[in-house]
Every structure is written in structure tokens, then in C-alpha cells.
Amino acid sequence: MSCCGSGAGYQQIAPDPLAAGEEVRLASRVVADDVRQTDLSVPSVHCGGCIRTIEKVLGELDGVEQARVNLSTRRVTIRWRADGVPPPFIEALRGAGYEAHLFDIDADEKDSTLSELVRALAVSGFAASNIMLLSVSIWSGAEPETRDLFHWISALIAFPALAYSGRVFFRSAWRALKHGRTAMDVPISLGVLLAFGMSLYETVQRGSHAYFDASISLLFFLLIGRTLDHMMRDRARPAVKGLARLAARGALVVQPGGTQTYLSVSEIQPGMTIMLAAGERVPVDARVTKGISDLDVSLVSGESVPQLASPGSVLRAGTLNLTGPLTIVATAAAGDSFLAEMVRMMEADEQGRSTYRRIADRAAGLYAPVVHLTAFVTLIGWLVVTGDIHRAVTCAIAVLIITCPCALDLAVPMVQVVAARRLFENGIMLRDGGALERLAEIDTVVFDKTGTLTLGNPRLIDTGAVTPQTLAIAAAIASHSRHPYSRALAAAQTLNPPMSFEDISEHPGSGLEARSGASVYRLGRAAWALSCASELPPPSDEASVVLAKDGRQLAEFHFNDRLRADVGEAITRLTSDGFAMEVVSGDREEPVRVLAADLGVPYTARVLPGGKAEHVASLATAGRKVLMVGDGLNDTPALAAAYASMAPASAADIGRNVADLVFLHESLSAVPQAIALARAAGRLVRQNLALAVVYNLVAVPIAVLGNVTPLAAAVAMSGSSIVVVANALRLKGERTAPRTQAAEVSATGVAGPTVLEAAE
């Protein structure tokens, strides 16, 4: 298994296992009695060996019924028995060297429209090829009797194919007509149906020209375009639904009589007293009345350091209580709480963005009236000039056939499908073809800090001064806490602890205490862990803890939030490409200032979620087209408000659902790559549209003058479609060089833990 499983480029730090388990359960769906299914995205799967390793590792977990890797989409589908807690899929995969993310972007349900389109495509392809074979012999000069026979056979094949495959167009054309509008599907349906009708008439009259082949191959080419286009359309965004997952579903409320009842969130009223255990999310906006704890607010405010909650602190709905139980009093009902407010902001923003019309739709809007008018003018013209109704109708139908927008229909989706494929090869998922068009136009990039420029989880740094034994002691104690620093310490463990501990207890807001024999070990804030004040180190930054034995300091540990890989390169490249950039963060001034100064980018700190969206909106009113890159719940309104948006796969579920693009790998170079590719795709789309227009400029006069034979129509249509497809295939993605483990280590600047993980 040497070729795979190193996973060096993809590693990230474990999310809180408890919260992850809860998220796994909520993101799964029931497929049978007591069987649930979960889809995970595993970007580093790339060979047969990986398939086997992953299926074996997952299959051995307790409760897993079946696991299957999809190598094409880099996903794993797992069926598991739902009677207990979800098996630790993500942890097991990480143990095997694969980074996995929960993913349900388009796995919501089997796409029925797509399979209908593919079936229609297969039927029309079958019919087109058979009719074309018969037509070739007619064009080569078949005897009149043979020709008539072949026309009849063609009609027999064409009719059911038309009825089956044409429905896609007929239905939407009918809908458009019913609402008194004209859309691209109206001339298509008219052209196909009239061509078939006229050919049938010619066949009955033993005429020499029948257009069955044109009618059906038109349908075939158009269906290719339609199928590709459908693949690139945005799926319904379950973004707002996803928010509900972060909300607690209920809480233990203390009734006036002193009894405790579990109420659902919607029943909680301001003034109620709630018991909040460690590991639970805050159900509604509230104030602390009793207890001390640490709160993980990173999803809500973007602040990386856990906040101390003590009596009097104000809590926002959705934050996670990490260490100690709290008694809180609700200050708002669920409908007025922070999460509900976010939902409202996002709904408003998404409405704003839906005004964007895609290039293909704009082209189609211009195209349909022009085609109708040309065909109509041809009909009238021939009637006036010759007075021959048959001749006039034939020419008008020929115009409809020849102008049928095959090339136009393929021009945009073909490029977008190729672009999506190239992006996927670089670990970027595209949600919507229209996003590619918007991404090509942006001129300003706004970054979030926590989780976007950095990885959002603290890492242990400067372990050089600490002996492995001391580190092992600290890690052994830390493994009993859910505090992010504790988890970072536990992850850095290299040796087994030299002693065993009893009575490990957590003192919320202060740290952990453990006994080993007669000694008392404390791991936590210096002021609490050290007994005599003289030993107190000079007040350093917040990001450190102390390990003390009987009040004497053994070691001090420092943490920082590690930068995402290639941040510097990405920023340099964006600068040289002339993009304006900003960092907008909800975190404290100091860490944001340091980071922004390092990168040479202007910054704004301590921004509330609504403030981020407003900032993006004000840039938009100033005429800027903003790309928002962010991951937190607090970035979500800004992601929705921005002209285009990107999120890392490690983002909050909701952020992934709102963002136009999701990058799966750790490296931030995905941002300039995606922009470059979007611009290249934009150029190809314009070329393709120009090709389609040129084709029409040449072909339409010939059709209007009545010189289009079935042979000419077939050649012109296929030729233009093939040219457009070939042009789209020219789009090249840039290959990212595979990152070596050595490069990974030096890029992060952290020796110990990184080497460990890379070696796994």
C-alpha cells in the first residue's frame, strides 16, 4: 500500500468527535428498517489499493453493514445499523491515512430528471443512427421504390423516438406558450414536429426529400446539450435546512416547581431557566446564571480561542458548551435567536443573487424571436414571390431546421462540463455552471481568517523545550477533556504515559487536575495551576497552558492556529493578477492584525456575521464583484451575499451548501486556480457562441433561398456541433504537482506532530 494512504496533502485536525458523531447521524438518511446511509467525500482516494483499504477498514467497524467506494466521485457510501451511535467512520479513515468529510451536496436523491434525459438521449441516438444509415443509401441515389420503402421505415423508427425523446422539449415549450412567452424550446419543438410532419407528407406523396434524419439527429444533438446543461445546473440549495442541524433540538428546562422537563427549542420562552450539560449546543440566546465553562464559538464568531463563560456572560444560540455544566436563562425565543436571524439574512441574500442570468439563457432569450421571425418572413416571402404554398412551407421548415440551436445548445454546457472536470481533478467541486461565469468576472477577493486562511484548530508549537516524558504526561491528562488545547496536546503524544492517574477532574475555565500517588498534576491556566505567585511566568498571550506538579511548573505549552498550505503563494499570485484582497474576520484584533500584516493584506477584525454580509454588499454597491472565501457559520450570510463564493470542505455544513465552489484539499492555491480556469472557460464560451453565430450567418441565407437538401442539413448541423465540442475540449486545467511529505512539513513549520501524521 505504498502508493496510497500517505495522505500528506490532505491532513487536517480532528473535529470534536462527539459533535462529529452527532453531525454524522443528522446527515445520514434512513434506507431501510434500522439501516442508515452516510456519504463521505474522500478526496485522496486514487487507486484500487485505496478502494480495498477503505472498504476493509470501514467494513471491520462495529455496526457497518456495507461500505462501497466510488472512485469516480471520490466518495464512500456506508450503510450502518442505526441502533447505536454512528460508528467512527471519519476517525477510522483518518487512521488509515485518508481525510474524509461529510458530504451531501447532491446526494439528496437520485436525480430523476437526469436519468430521464439520458434515456431520452439513448433512444434518440438509436433512432438517429438507424435513420441516418437508411438516409445515406438514399443520398447515394437509391431507386425510387427503395427510397419510398426506406422513407417509410424511417418514419416508423422516427415516430416512437420523437414521441419518447421529444417530450422533454415539447413539455417545456407548451409551458412557455401557455404563459404567453417564447423560449428556446418553442422553435425547437416547432422545427422538429414540422420537419417530421412535412416528411410524412412527402413520404405519402412519394416525394424525393424527407427530413426524418434531420428531425431526429436534431433531437439527439439538442438532448446532448440539454443533458450536459442539466448536470451543470444548480441543485436546490438545502442551505437553510442545514442551519437547523446546528441548532440544538431541545433542552432541559427547569419548571417553576423545581422539576426538570425536556422541551423542544420552539417551546422555550424568554425567562426560562435551562440546564446545559457539557457537549451540548446552546439552544437559544441566553445569559449564564450559574457555572463556569469554556465555549467553542468558532462557528458563530470565527474566534479561534474558546471563550470563558461565567455568570453574567451572554451566549449565542448554536455555540458549543465544552467543559462544564451551566445554568442559563433564555433571553430570546428560538425565532428571535441568533440562528433564526442568520436564516433570514441568508434568504434575503439568496434572493438577491438569483437575479443573475446565465449566458446561455441570455443568448436563448435573443435567439428564439429571431428564429421565429426569419422562418415567418421566409414563408411570406416565398408565398408572395411564387404563390406556391408547398414550396413556401418547405423553405420555412428548412429555416427552422437549419437554425435549430444545436451548436448554441452545446456551446456553454460543454465548456462548463469540461471545466468542472478539470476543477475536480484539482480537488475543487463546482456546484453550478453559472457560478463559473460569475467567478470569471470577479475583481475582489475577501477572505475569512479562522478556518480559511488558517485551519481553525490550535496546534502545539515549540515542543523542543519539553521532554517527551513531560509531553506524555500532559497528553495523558489532556485526553480527558474536550477543550481544543487538550485535544491538540493529546494529538501530539509520542510516548505512553510513564505513570497512571486517578481522580482526573476538569475545572471548567481553569484546566484539568489529576492525581498520581501523592502528587497532584494540574494542566491549565498558569494562575490556577501554579501555587506560588512568584513562579508565575510573565503574562503571555492567551494561547498557552501550563503543566504543574504540586504547584511547580513542569512545562509550558504554546499553541497557534496553523496556516493553511500555500496561503502565501496563493496571495502572491492573486496580487500579481491584479485582484484586490481583504481579510474580514470575527476574531480578536491581535491575531488578525499579525496574520494580515504577514500576508500584506488589509484587514478588518471583530466583525459580526451581519457585518460581513454588509461589508460584501457595500463593496458590491461600490461596483466591485466580490469572491468571498469563508468557512464558518458566521461567514455564511457573506458567502450568500457575494457575487461568487468558495468554501473549504472542512467548512460548516451550511457553508458548503451555500458556496458555489468547495475545495477539498488543504491548499489555498485552489482559489487562484479556480479563478484562472473560470476565466479560460469564459473565453472558450465566447468563442463557441461566436462560432455558433458564424454558422448561422452562413447557413441561414442558404435555407431562406430554399437550397437546403436533407444532406446539406445533416452535414451543417453535425459539423457545427462537432466544432463547438472540439473547441470546448481545448480547456486545460493546471496540474498540481503532488506534494511530498518533506514539502508538507517545511510548509507548516511544525516538526513533531506533522511528521507523525505524515508517517501514518
Binding site: 438518511r29 480495498r52 472512485l71 469516480s72 450503510r79 438507424n130
Partner: protein, 59 residues
Amino acid sequence: MMDYFYLIPIAIGIGLTALAAFMWSLKSGQYDDLDGAAERVLFEESDAPIPPTAWPKRQ
């Protein structure tokens, strides 16, 4: 001329068979993972795909 009476039905029949085969392979999920199928041919274990189900609403 008489040749047409059996040659053309045979040709169309072959075409229809291919169409039916494609529809079947599509329905049984054989196009869901083309890259994976190419690798799985090397393994001896049973590797039946996860049977498609009606996808009920998420709970």
C-alpha cells in the same frame, strides 16, 4: 429487393437489443463508478454494488 425483408429487420433488431442492453446497464448502476470498476476487476472478493433503493426523505 427481397433481401430487404430480412436484412432490415435484422439490422434494426440488433440495434434494439443494444438499446435495451444500455437501458438495463444504466438502470443497474453500471455507469455510477467507471474508474472504480476498472480497478475492481483485479480483486477476487465479491464486490456487488450497494443495491439502489428508493431514496426516502432524510430524517
